[in-house]
Symmetry: C2
Subunit: 301 residues, 2 copies
């Protein structure tokens, strides 16, 4: 492998790495379940070397750009949040992780914070930078669905404000750990049920708390199909998120960034509100953001 | 023990039994963790006899009145829901469980169902009957907080309609299983934080989804106390429930039935909306309801 630098997306539950050559081509990839959540401070370097050790030449330090929870207080080394408004990543803003191996220099991208309302992100700032690398003139709102969905106002290349919703985590807890697990399928979908649930949530957002147990009751009394219950639960939660995030998307240019399935659901929900969002693959924005970080880092010897 | 009949409250996670004598006095009590959730159909009778076997005389069948999830489809025997509007319990409405022991006759109180909006209850109908036994003229609304909180309209001794909220289960999932577990105490309380969260939830009920992650962010950025976070999470969820249940309690006589801690929180929240609820101990209503069921059952030999 001809390695110029290495990109690492290191979240709570997994680690992914890509080796880039000097022409910006990917020469190797690796992934493991060694997420930040299961590692002590001394275990990060070995966990990383296990994935990328074979890629490293002797005689020089290869820059490694890492984003995500690896920079949390419980991570490899804390990369303190940068307060918004600010550019998503900036030159001189990275935190060097302590390493013993002379073949690597690890730079962690810090997350962003907002004072009021209090909010934080780690990892999404890199996706935002990746999106803006290809769309430097973008003025509008980014939506990054997921475990903790983010809505982000962008203007003049800066993150102006943002807000986090626990929609993905709520869905997983309700579908897998609550009484609804008996009535909600683990796979499958009914688009019409999803759309009706989104519309209902947006027209009566105050009634979210009343909608959840109905899925169990309808399953017991009316034989509600588990796939329909799954789509309705998702629609109720995404609809509640859209209702609370209305000040973000109303009348704005919106781009949704993430995996195909979930971005499709958000795009469908938004389009029913008259918003036609751009949809962008999340993997691409992570790599573009880490590449932008590599550029900002400058040359290392 | 001089046993006239036996009351059993048999839920998903526990079993409690009381021996009553002919004068209505409790002569013995028992409790175990043999909830419906862990028992197969053949295991209910042994689990019950393990608790009450010593109380039973020879030569006659002692009536056992049982309420709760023991009557679910996955329970001892299914006691089909009775559709509202109806009295909470009625003579001739009990389902006999199959028993081998000649010393007991087990009668299960069926739950109630509502067709639209679809809803179900099991166990609360007995508490409602217990409340109404002492207050036959009550016309208003009952609130039974808990894992699955119920709001119940009562008129002319009947359950007119009801609605279930997963507030207690949501609180437990968020406080113990979500990212908020790092920021929310398992004990402790700040009343002012609770009251402010209730007021906020009721004034902007559409923003529930936006309030949850703020607890984590404020803990990280501002050192939010875990006890305050616990009270705020509870206030946000109870406030959201009150917002969605407003058609139930607005302008009505309200009684809150349950354990001291949770009924106090609901009473405090309601009083901020100008409702002065009566607070009733949940244990007493269960026993009063099972005693009312015993009366309706009539004499057994």
């Amino acid at each position: 492998v001809n390695v110029d630098w290495i990109a690492v997306d290191w979240g709570t539950s997994q680690l992914r790495a890509w080796a880039f050559d000097a022409d910006g081509r990917i020469g190797a990839t690796a992934a493991s379940a060694d997420g930040m959540g299961k590692l002590g401070p001394e275990e990060f370097e070995p966990a990383l070397l296990k994935q990328i050790g074979d890629w490293l030449p002797q005689g020089r330090r290869v820059p490694v750009l890492a984003c995500g929870m690896v920079g949390a207080r419980q991570g490899w080394i804390e990369a303190p949040y940068r307060p918004v408004p600010c550019a998503p990543i900036v030159a001189g803003g990275f935190v060097a992780a302590p390493v013993r191996d002379p073949r690597i220099a690890v730079h962690i991208v810090p997350g962003l914070s907002q004072a009021a309302p209090a909010d934080v992100m780690r990892g999404e700032e890199t996706q935002i930078a990746g999106f803006l690398a290809g769309r430097p003139e973008f003025d509008g709102v980014l939506c990054l669905p997921g475990t903790h969905a983010k809505w982000v106002r962008i203007s003049a290349g800066e993150v102006v404000s943002f807000q986090t919703f626990m929609t993905g985590e709520l869905f997983a807890l309700l579908a897998e750990k609550s009484v609804l697990r008996h009535s909600v399928a683990t796979e499958g979908w009914q688009e019409v049920a999803f759309e009706m649930a989104v519309d209902d949530a947006l027209s009566r957002p105050d009634r979210l708390a009343a909608r959840l147990f109905a899925l169990r009751a309808e399953a017991l009394l009316d034989g509600l199909a588990p796939e329909a219950a799954r789509a309705r639960l998702s629609g109720a939660l995404i609809g509640a998120e859209l209702a609370a995030a209305r000040p973000y998307w109303l009348g704005q240019a919106v781009a949704v960034i993430g995996d195909a399935g979930i971005t499709g659901a958000y795009a469908a929900a938004l389009s029913r509100q008259g918003v036609a969002p751009e949809v962008v693959a999340g993997d691409e924005t992570v790599l573009a953001g880490l590449a932008a970080a590599r550029e900002l880092l400058g040359e290392l010897t």
